[in-house]
């Protein structure tokens, strides 16, 4: 009869091999090990989830007749929806948009931007404006640190939750 160490070995062997299943039957014992089909099968959930991350991919789960017919003729779609916020690195904070609207980096077209890469911010520093329904919503940093990346473009439609700035805390 197989011992626990034998089984451990078998698991490791199967794991490292390209095999997907192992069955042993003896007079006094049956053992069956199975492995998920590594890559070939994308489970639907993963496929669906995979839809979100890359911007503009949200409409790609099912091809639209138009898209299939004229893949290149699409008239400049606006920025795709924001994927789920990227994994937070330690010490880095991402400022996201609290509403859907137009993103403006400055209070007026000819004014300098509120912040830029390298700017120091505190909780109350206004970092941008998101315009919704003709209302200019000043967005505050809500953290203390240094802007290390601007993630949205001036005048762009930003979604709820879309990352706008990355800030190194401190």
């Amino acid at each position: 009869m197989l011992k626990i160490d034998d089984i451990r070995d078998l698991i490791r062997l199967l794991d490292e091999s390209s095999l997907t299943e192992l069955r042993i039957e003896t007079e006094d014992m049956k053992l069956c090990l199975k492995k998920a089909l590594t890559a070939p099968v994308t489970p639907p959930a993963a496929a669906a989830a995979a839809v979100a991350p890359p911007p503009a991919a949200a409409a790609s789960f099912l091809p639209s007749p138009e898209a299939a017919a004229a893949p290149a003729a699409d008239p400049a779609p606006p920025a795709g929806p924001a994927g789920p916020a990227p994994v937070q690195e330690a010490n880095i904070h991402t400022i996201t948009s609290p509403m859907v609207g137009t993103f403006y980096r400055a209070p007026s077209p000819d004014a300098p931007p509120y912040v830029d890469v390298g700017s120091r911010v505190t909780e109350k520093t206004v970092v941008c404006i998101v315009e919704a329904m003709k209302l200019m919503n000043e967005i505050e940093a809500e953290c203390r640190g240094e802007i290390i990346e601007v993630l949205a473009e001036n005048g762009q439609l930003v979604e709820y939750g879309q990352p706008l700035f990355r800030v190194r805390l401190g």
Binding site: P43, P44, A45, A46, A47, A48, A49, V51, A52, A58, A59, S60, F61, L62, S64, P65, E66, P77, P78, G80, P81, A82, P84, M99, V100, G101, T102, A132, M133, L135, L157, E159, Y160, G161, Q162
Partner: protein
Amino acid sequence: MFNRILVANRGEIAVRIIRACRELGIETVAVYSEADRDALHVQLADEAYCIGPTPSKQSYLHIPSIITVAALTGVDAIHPGYGFLAENSDFADVCEACGITFIGPSPRAIETMGDKSAARAAMRRAGVPTVPGSDGLVADANEAERIAEEIGYPVLIKATAGGGGKGIRVVHDRASLRQAFATAQHEAETAFGNPGVYIEKYIERMRHVEIQILADRHGNVIHLGERDCSVQRRLQKLVEEAPCPVLSEETRRRMGEAAVAAARAVDYVGAGTVEFIYSLDGSFYFMEMNTRIQVEHPVTEWVTGVDLVREQILAAAGYPLSIRQEDVVLRGHAIECRINAEDPDRNFMPCPGQITEYLPPGGIGVRVDSAAYPGYVVPPYYDSMIAKLIVWAPDRQQAIQRMLRALGEFRIEGVKTTIPFHMKLMQNERFQRGEVTTRFLEEHPL
């Protein structure tokens, strides 16, 4: 014609609208809450934007966000679906003010029909039969008592701002009227922010029969026959069918004409439904008008061959209706079952969760309207409907057999559904004989 429409809804109705748009060559813009990132309507639309966090109030009901997306994506029109903002006249107003067509009737029509006591009054003026009751709002318990005596018990006390079965109390005798009246007013105030209530005679044995109407901007108003939605649980519809198994041709005609009169009374445009109380003695009374597309619209689509969402969009764009009243011919029988993520064995407790396996039924006479797919997670935040299963057959008996066949084929794993309930219902002899009132499930638990 519209080039681009924003779909201000989620779930199967958002998918339904996107399908209609695609067939019309109209681009679609979807909006979604954070909880609906992986939703089918987001995947099917040409573009999709996250407009807010999970709670509806901050997303699907949040007018500023929706209007912002509409303006920034340059849509010509917004389709509100059902629920959410579909019967919100403020929203229709805002759309109009922003130069975006609201696919639905005028704000005034929505408002009139949304105020139940104003609607009753308008219907009486239009000559549509209404249930005996108060002329409008009832000021106090004394007046309530007087009216109840006049029309006879039992009576209903209804919140004028209610709807969809909410804000209603039954009073069986004089002894309990005063207390009930006070409670009803208080509840109406709390639930709807409007304490106005009115009184109606309570018709105990009734069927819920409703007429589908279509109207364009050129004065054409037609009706497309009735739907029977008598199978209800706590005033929520579970099964709908067309035609109604007990309506005479003559009553159908009169009810249809009443519905057209109701629509004309508010200068209706688009698709709408006039709900009637159908008493078992053959008389009928106006109940309310739903100024939007309805969950159960597919059964009418199948027996008439008319695509209601398409007509609704075309009417909003100023096109005349594609059919005249005399072209409306009912063919065969259609039944719809609402497949909800609920456990029928545990008092229809909602069962959100991941659908691990999903294979809808197919073949002859079967239509499935759904936003589900294998791996989809039914979120616990919105309604529990997973799919609408609609069947058609030449007659009602065959339609019931077909529904039973299709329900048996429908494979949904991972969440409990109401499929077993519907299978029992389809095999129930009373249901098969068409002997159903709105209290059917109460009186004959399956």
